[in-house]
């Protein structure tokens, strides 16, 4: 934590500096300490967006539940969705109403918190059943966002919808993509700069990836920024200032591809999005390039696997940093970016923390895109470091894939961590990362592009990483760039996390345990066996009675749980893009079934 002002000045040896400069320096340091840190947002006990706040801390300031009393947590009420696919959404809580988005058919339930289990209304968008054929990784949906009386979310068949939060009536519905191009939508939108920000899925279908901003009142598309193509399509203009030379140049979204391959190059926008209202920048990363077989697409393949900072009103890019050029492991760039103001080497820096698929925690200056550190939070052999001067990832040649067979690739395609979001506690200063420990073997095959069908060209088998556990919950110190403690899990820790002011971290496991850990040391405080594996995002809110509640959706599925939600056959280890090889025992531990669980102290 921060030094006393006097100690700081003494260490800096400012005694010799003229008084006026010393005074200015003192004022600067003082202001730095006093300026509200972006991670310390006011908390009214509601949950209006999946990531809790635009900084994406997933931190609840409620402190009724503590490390001392968490062992007394009891089930308060439940609600069944009646669906058997993967439930990934974060519930929202606004004005004593809870909003749940289900997997396909993407029903929106408004639940009355003053009358547990009762629904106020239901909104059914009736997405096309055929759209289930374009979802790479189960027909999931990661949730909605509330803004000025409306709930916004995406349907699998490419509609962004706005629903009146009080009446449940549809306000508008905008078609954003085409299933016959292999597009679908699963991501949770955010609202920034008066725009609903949404992106497509389909990196496994050779889509032309994009992120778009729609008017909240009308659903009119204001801007759409593609991930590949000329600068005019990527919305790169005169304001664009990438930090590293490797990311500078005109029309790199065309030049780093061969011929027209960028048009089916992926870079989809199924991303987590954060927003800094002072800098007026949204931050998100693009997906993997298509096809997975990298030998089919020579070049750096910009701007796939790239972190973008854009203006939310216009979509114009301010900076970009390509994390994995010419990706050959399916290391999508879509994971969360937690915005933090941290003291690093004695200076307060506006940073973002991005735990990437490639297994590294990127700490970056969110004003400029400079990488400050990129240390591994999982076992990594596909790269050995990131050159902080050039920004280049130093890949391990022996683990590069293409038209050949490569074994023991770590991390496997789902990465050190997939979409499952981490959280940050301003009290402990730690990031709580739910993640994977998986390696894989990959063999490239020729991929044929047929619009609307998978465009992959890779046979994969995954298996546990070193140690045998397939997942873990790790507490990470972003400043020291080191893990502090880690709890191993039998299966990948595929749920989200929430951390509270009571110093409790909540997450769920794929074999159906919803757990509370002590945020300081990882000690297990409490656990509850829910009806199906958990891949949802837990939240914590203040109920109408003033009590603190914790809620999570159970219902296994997703890419990792496909063997159960899809009834897959483990005789073929390549099933579910190789995940089945690593999860053949999951059916012994869990069946399907979507259910909301809400817990509180008695």
């Amino acid at each position: 934590m921060t030094d006393s002002l006097g100690a700081k000045l003494h260490r800096r040896g400012t005694m010799a500096i003229p008084n006026t400069i010393a005074a200015a320096a003192a004022l600067f340091c003082f202001a730095g300490i006093l300026l509200p840190q972006i991670q310390n947002e006011a908390d009214d006990g509601q949950w209006t967006m999946a990531a809790k706040n635009p900084a994406s801390t997933r931190y609840s300031a409620l402190s009724q539940i503590t490390t001392a009393n968490a062992k007394n947590l009891k089930l308060a009420w439940t609600f069944s969705t009646g669906l058997t696919k993967g439930h990934e959404a974060a519930p929202l809580v606004v004005n004593n109403t809870m909003y749940i988005v289900t997997p396909w058919p993407n029903i929106l339930y408004a639940l009355d918190l003053t009358n547990p289990g009762a629904t106020k209304w239901t909104y059914s968008p009736h997405p096309s059943a055929s759209s289930q054929g374009t979802a790479c990784c189960d027909v999931v949906n990661r949730g909605a966002v509330y803004y000025k009386g409306k709930i916004f979310y995406n349907t699998l068949d490419n509609y962004t919808v706005a629903v009146d939060a009080t009446t449940g009536k549809q306000v508008w519905k905008t078609l954003m993509g085409d299933i016959n191009k292999g597009e679908s939508m699963t991501m949770a939108p955010i609202v920034a700069g008066g725009k609903v920000i949404v992106g497509n899925s389909g990196g496994e279908f050779g889509v032309h990836g994009w992120m778009a901003g729609l008017e909240t009142e009308t659903g009119k598309i204001t801007w759409r920024a593609y991930a590949t193509g000329p600068d005019s399509q990527v919305l790169i203009g005169p304001d664009f200032k990438p930090f590293y030379a490797k990311d500078r140049g005109k029309d790199l979204g065309v030049k780093t591809w061969q011929g027209d391959q960028w048009k089916i190059g992926g870079g989809s926008g199924w991303s987590w999005i954060s927003y800094d209202p002072d800098l007026d920048l949204i931050y998100y990363g693009t997906s993997n390039p298509g096809p997975w077989n990298a030998d089919m697409r020579p070049g750096d393949n910009k701007w796939t696997c790239t972190l973008f900072a854009r203006k939310p009103e216009t979509g114009q890019a301010v900076w970009a940093y390509q994390i994995n050029p010419h990706d050959n492991h399916d290391y999508d760039g879509v994971n969360e970016n937690i915005l933090l103001d941290l003291t690093i080497h004695g200076q307060v820096r506006k940073v973002l923390a991005h735990p990437d698929r490639n297994g590294r925690m990127y700490l970056m200056d969110r004003t400029t895109g400079e990488v400050l550190s990129a240390e591994a939070f999982a076992y990594v052999n596909t790269s050995d470091s990131v050159d902080l001067k050039t920004g280049r990832l130093h890949e391990t040649d022996a683990k590069k894939t293409g038209f050949k067979t490569v074994r023991d690739i770590c991390p496997a395609p789902p990465g050190g961590k997939d979409w499952q979001p981490s959280s940050f506690s301003p009290r402990t200063g730690l990031i709580y990362i739910p993640h994977n420990n998986l390696c894989a073997e990959m063999s490239g095959t020729p991929a044929n592009y047929i619009a609307g069908t998978p465009y992959v060209g890779s046979d994969v088998r995954m298996y546990p990483g070193p140690g045998g556990n397939r997942g873990a919950l790790t507490a990470w110190d972003p400043v020291a760039a080191k893990p502090v403690w880690s709890v191993k899990e039998m299966f990948p820790a595929w749920s989200g996390t929430v951390v509270t002011a009571g110093d409790v971290v909540f997450y769920g496991t794929m074999d159906g345990w919803f757990k509370a850990l002590d945020a300081h040391n990882g000690n297990l405080l409490w656990k509850f066996k829910v009806g199906s594996g958990v891949i949802g995002q837990p939240i914590s809110y203040k109920g109408p009675d003033g009590k603190q509640y914790v809620a999570v959706l159970a219902g296994v599925g997703g890419w990792s749980g496909a063997i159960v939600s899809g009834g897959l056959n483990a005789a073929d280890g390549t099933a579910a893009l190789g995940f089945v090889n690593a999860m053949a025992d999951l059916p012994k531990y869990t069946t399907t079934g979507g259910m909301l669980y809400v817990f509180s102290l008695p």
Binding site: S130, T445, N448, P454, A570, A571, D572, N581, M583
Partner: protein
Amino acid sequence: MSSRYLRVAGVFFSLLGVACQREERDLRPAPTRLAMPGPAARESLLQPGGPQETLTPVNPAEGNGYAISEGQRLFNAYNCSGCHSHGGGGIGPPLIKDVWIYGNDPAVLFDTIVKGRPNGMPSWGGRLPEYEIWQIVAYIRSLNNLEPKSVTPTRSDSIEQNSHTLTPPPEPKPQ
């Protein structure tokens, strides 16, 4: 030649013809005859008024080694493996299984591919020649041990299963 030799020769050559059906190769298939959605195959055992005589198309690729080998090639080339992997499933359901949603008769499989199915199976009608669809149908049936062993591929074209990587490892077979 004496008539006796001719008769023996005739019997000999006709026997050869019967035994080589599995080795036959149609050298002039009709590539332009595309399979179009049309009259349906029955998919229900419920037939109001009692069961009726049904004319079911015969799979010309049934029991044919070359056709099933082609089916394996086309299964990958047309991205069937993109959704169904090598029989285990993924985006789509497995194709190695006991319980089939719509049935696994050749005519029903043919229909599934041509018409598509409501929950995500694309409709390939109008895109693929009929003879190729029959080859893929025969390959799918071979995955389920519904074709003679002599014409069933012994492994997929993909990276071979290393059983030591399957998690958990398969139970050792009783001796």
